[in-house]
Amino acid sequence: MNNLYLNKLSLVQFKNYQEASLAFSPKINCFVGDNGVGKTNLLDAIHYLSLTKSFFNNIDQQNILHGKDFFVLQGEFVKKGHSEKVFCSVRQNKKKIFKRNNKDYERFADHIGLFPVVMISPADSSLILEGSEQRRRFMDTVISLYNKQYLHALIRYNRALLQRNKLLKQFEFKRENFYDELELWDTQLVVPGNEIYQKRKEFIEKVIPVFQQYYNTISEEKEKVGLEYRSQLHESNFETLLVTNRDKDRVMQFSTVGVHKDDLMMSLNDHPLKKTGSQGQQKTFLVALKFAKFGFIRDLTHTKPILLLDDIFDKFDAHRVSQIIRMVAQNEFGQIFITDTQLEHLENILQELDTDYKVFKINEEIKTVIPGGET
């Protein structure tokens, strides 16, 4: 297992920071301050250096400090004992520049996976509350990390689906041999569709035990949770499904069966989580799921990802908070960044644990963070 941590971070004109420069603990780092001072922006800066983009805003230019025309982020990671410098700059109306050890990247994708991070944020609740697309994307992003063929299958599937749906809308103009033409696109859907189905099934089977273990640890085994992969392909093979639903597809003018209808069923004591779970329970569910993702990335990259916990204490009771902190302080996790508005309850737990940590008080008046804080 490779050791990875972010040693230093400097920001220039990034979001609400004029300039800041920080040196971190290799284990636990806490950003403490009032709402709106920019705690989460520090996490986002780390996210940038890892994944070449913001967790929150995909438009690079919008992350520049208001009224300025560029931002620069620089990080010094330590991986396997070696120092690695990562540089990112975004200028108004210019291409983003991304460098590792002073060398430009030709493809940003080459950077992803070198310094893995996992962000746990209140925005994750969309996974429970919003449509099934969010849950498919969760599966897809993790599987794509270790299976390039999967990403290719997804691209092919989506292209074939687009063409098939377009064709279904043209029925009025080409009644003749319509099903013959439709069948051409069925064939194109079936191959990548089956591949996606298989890979998602395997993935969820692997995730479930890990996820359940994390959930039990955080909740101290109070609830029974379920995670289940739902797909129309469970019942029948894809080819047959497409044939039997032809008339329906024609009337609806889109493809009603396939892996684009897949979903993850999340349940609590055998009831749907979305309806019956309390906010704290829902959040426990999400955190356990993200930890499972963490474990996946760790095993794939042989590196403990950096964990970014944004506003983790919101909606949790004291027990669960202390369970989470205890858990992440253990050796199976690497470097952690935590944001919180108050220091007290966090510090109480940290002092109990025999672990290295550093607290950064984020100051409102000057957007220059004083490095160090108390240890």
Binding site: K148, H152, Q163, L167, K174, E181, L184, Q188
Partner: protein, 206 residues
């Protein structure tokens, strides 16, 4: 740029700007260039384009662009007329001809099946090919279409159409490019090359 001193100028700019890859500014530069040329140069230019559209033909045998009813390739007795390479466009014929490796004839479909672009199977030109196959003149067709979703779909359409005839249906090999370094090949291509590996013996007979 919006105030042209002449209506004729504006119309000419509009016409050029309608071409693919040409914006308003480039169109204006081209028009101004033409305007500065001698009368006969510009007339020749115009006539060339008018004749192109009026007089060009599509080969009755293969649907390639031609000056005659039957193109030079189809008229060539020395070529192998039992081997037909199916391509999307005349550009593809030129690309394969440039290899100097192919001595059969061609069939130009004129497009690929793509509902997004409003092209269905009936919009493809297949009649001359069908006719040749039905007459038993063809032993093998090589499907040489793009490796896109639309190319694959069209391949499958043609396969379904001709699979019950005695014609052998083959398709272009997909794999690592010649002279390419393995580490730079994309994972999908490399994966496919491993799945479709060939006997080494066959590699030095080419």
């Amino acid at each position: 740029m919006s105030h042209f001193p002449s209506k004729l100028l504006e119309e000419a700019v509009e016409a050029f700007a309608g071409l693919p890859g040409i914006g308003k500014k480039t169109a204006f530069r081209l028009v101004m260039f033409l305007l500065r040329q001698d009368q006969d140069v510009v007339e020749h230019f115009g006539q060339t384009i008018i004749r192109l559209k009026k007089e060009i033909r599509y080969c009755r045998s293969c649907n390639n662009i031609s000056d005659k009813e039957i193109c030079d390739i189809c008229a060539n007795k020395h070529r192998n007329h039992s081997l037909v390479c199916v391509v999307e466009s005349p550009q593809d014929v030129m690309a394969i001809e440039n290899t100097g490796q192919y001595h059969g004839i061609y069939h130009v479909l004129g497009g690929l099946i793509s509902p997004v672009d409003g092209i269905g199977p009936n919009d493809l030109v297949t009649a001359p090919l069908e006719e040749k196959i039905n007459k038993g003149e063809v032993k093998e067709i090589i499907l040489a279409l793009s490796t896109t979703m639309e190319g694959d779909t069209t391949n499958f359409y043609l396969f379904r159409k001709f699979k019950d005839t005695p014609v052998k249906i083959t398709t272009l090999a997909r794999g690592v490019s010649v002279g390419g370094e393995l580490e730079y090949a994309d994972e999908v291509t490399l994966g496919r090359s491993i799945a479709n590996r060939t006997l080494f013996e066959d590699t030095f007979t080419l």
